[in-house]
Amino acid sequence: MRVGIVGAGFMGETHARAWAATPAQVAAIYAPREEPTRKLAQQVGASACRSLQELIDQVDVVDVCAPTDQHAAIGLQAAAAGRHLLVEKPLARKLGEGQELLQACEQAGVQLLVGHVLRFFPEYVAAQAAVTRGDIGDVAMLRLTRGSFQPWAGTAHWLTDESRSGGLVLDLMIHDFDYAQWVAGPVESVHARSVRSREAGAPGDYCLALLQHRGGAISHVEGAWAYPQPLFRTALEIAGSEGLIEQPVESTAPLDIRLVQQDAEGADIVAPTSPLAEDPFVTQMRNIHDVLADGAAPRCSAAEALAALRIALAARESARCGRPVRPDELVAEAN
């Protein structure tokens, strides 16, 4: 299996490392900027491509780690060439783009996998499995927190441009939106508040979203790009009719090293880490490899990734208009 990674930033590097643990071979790298492309290609022994088509021509699988607003265009071109797709979350920046991508992959008969890596983080997997086994009965209240500093603060990085990334809600909180629907089922309505929806130029962002699940459960999702560096915190709690699972902020770190802060300028995005035998990104990639190689069922289907995008877009819309929004009623033209 030959893989081409589009994008040579934080996620491109992360995926390249993860692919290395699978039987697949990263054969090609393409990103618009030549230097990072050459560097990453050299690291993994892949060819550095000068165009997307050049990459597509060399591989079986296209792994899209490009900025969110480019996911759809890259994916469509790859699908048209009959290549399987792995797209980093979120599926796309806009609902219409996501829908188009699903349709194109179905028509082309290629796989569309989306990197909702939270479904491979052990604490989240264990809690989901416990719920599925019925250990805590029916889910009543699911509480999810994810926060860090504002990545690339004060720079022109695409992540800071909400028209390109969808901001905190689409880039960070979508992890938990997807997890919420994985654990508690489809979401009927979303009510949210965010700082950026009220104040476009705010230096950070903070968002609270309440989800009403169709089956009766409620989710409370908190997202922050407003913590001081280098803080990155996640928390998980599920209360059910027969019990409670708690994974509070304080206990997610078995190891805590606090060093005197060096100059913290220009901090990049980070992923939460916990000492584990296997990096969850690797676990994810091994699963993705098996799905593509053996046709196993994906842990996150394309339809679920589209549903997660709908929840996130509904949260953005609710924070903007102030009212609860039904993800299923969003129209592609406006979102």
Binding site: M141, R143, L210, I218, Y227, P228
Partner: protein, 332 residues
């Protein structure tokens, strides 16, 4: 005034013993006794606490207490406030002051007319950790506040069935637990809530077939533009190492403030007791609240927490119930 004669009206609420213990710490206070419309409950409380039992509220109020502590079920607060005000007694009332804002307002007006003090029991304002958090906010350490993620989750009070009786409690988890944090947020932000949205369900404690919400979360918009959520669910199982929590995580331009008001606790494991128990060793906020009530009367000054504070918090809880029913945000 140099001494106070205090009467306990009802022993329905689980906090009654705590208020009594606080009163007994004060040499100036004489506790006259307790009356309760549930005579069996009242007699047993009186016996357990070594209190004089009065067979009726009228008999107890005929002793002309200077002040009363109302521990009744939520929807019975108003009638007891009326009786105490008629008797000219100052009033310390368990939260929520009332189950509707209108009724709470009427109670405040009634006390004003009678010239008696009405204090709402919001002890968290006397927690040193809470006070320190407020001081940090007032000092501007967080800059502009963006929002707050708060929980006041708890166990369902065991063996006290009126908490899930809509006639007596006026609601479930929303009525029991939203008011504490709602009051703290008003106090912290110096701003009033202008809109309330809530989601609720009855999945927790389903075996009791509750006619009230047992799990719920509220999203509040404040006039200053900040927003806050309060998870008020009865989501701590019976074997949880403590009764529940009051936690606030406030995020602002300047960073993150986390407050866990009952964190000052040791974990205790005992032979014969399954699991762990948390032994709280922090300061007693209940005593601070009782002291303020007693001192305000002795010194002839208003108490730190007013009836109006109770009205505001009750209005938020009432709006939350309305929103949970309609699925729509409710304006205050």
């Amino acid at each position: 005034m140099t001494s106070l004669r205090v009467a306990l009206l009802s022993s329905a609420h689980v906090h009654a013993a705590g208020w009594l213990a606080g009163l007994r710490q004060r040499a100036e206070v004489t506790v006259l006794g307790v009356a309760d419309e549930d005579r069996a409950r009242g007699r047993s409380f009186a016996a357990a606490q070594g209190l004089t039992w009065f067979d009726s509220y009228a008999a107890l109020l005929a002793e002309a207490p200077d002040a009363v502590v109302i521990n009744s079920e939520n929807t019975r607060h108003a009638a007891l406030v009326d009786r105490a005000a008629d008797a000219g007694a100052h009033i310390f009332c368990e939260k929520p002051l009332a189950t509707t804002a209108d009724e709470a307002r009427r109670m405040v007006a009634r006390c004003q007319d009678a010239g008696v003090t009405l204090m709402t029991a919001f002890p968290m304002r006397f927690s040193p950790a809470v006070i320190a958090a407020r001081e940090a906010l007032l000092a501007g350490n967080l800059g502009r506040v963006y929002g707050c993620n708060a929980t006041n989750q708890g166990q369902l009070p065991a063996g006290v069935p009126w908490f899930i009786d809509p006639q007596l409690a006026g609601g479930g988890a929303l009525m029991d637990h939203v008011v504490h944090v709602a009051d703290l947020l008003r106090w912290f932000f110096g701003s009033e809530a202008r809109e309330v949205y809530a989601l609720a369900n009855r999945i927790l404690h389903r075996e009791l077939e509750p006619q009230v919400e047992t799990g719920a979360v509220v999203l509040l918009d404040f006039e200053d533009g900040s927003f806050a959520s309060i998870d008020c669910s009865w989501s701590r199982p019976p074997q949880y190492p403590t009764w529940g929590n009051v936690k606030l995580e406030i995020v602002g331009e300047g960073g993150l403030l986390t407050l866990d008001a009952f964190r000052q606790a040791s974990t205790v494991y005992r032979r014969g007791t399954p699991g762990a128990q948390l032994a709280y060793w922090g300061s007693d906020a209940n005593q601070g609240l009782i002291d303020d009530f007693v001192d305000s009367l002795l010194q002839g000054r208003p108490p730190a927490i007013s009836g109006e504070d109770g009205v505001r918090a009750s209005a938020i809880a009432e709006a939350a119930l309305k929103s949970a029913r309609s699925g729509e945000p409710v304006q205050l």
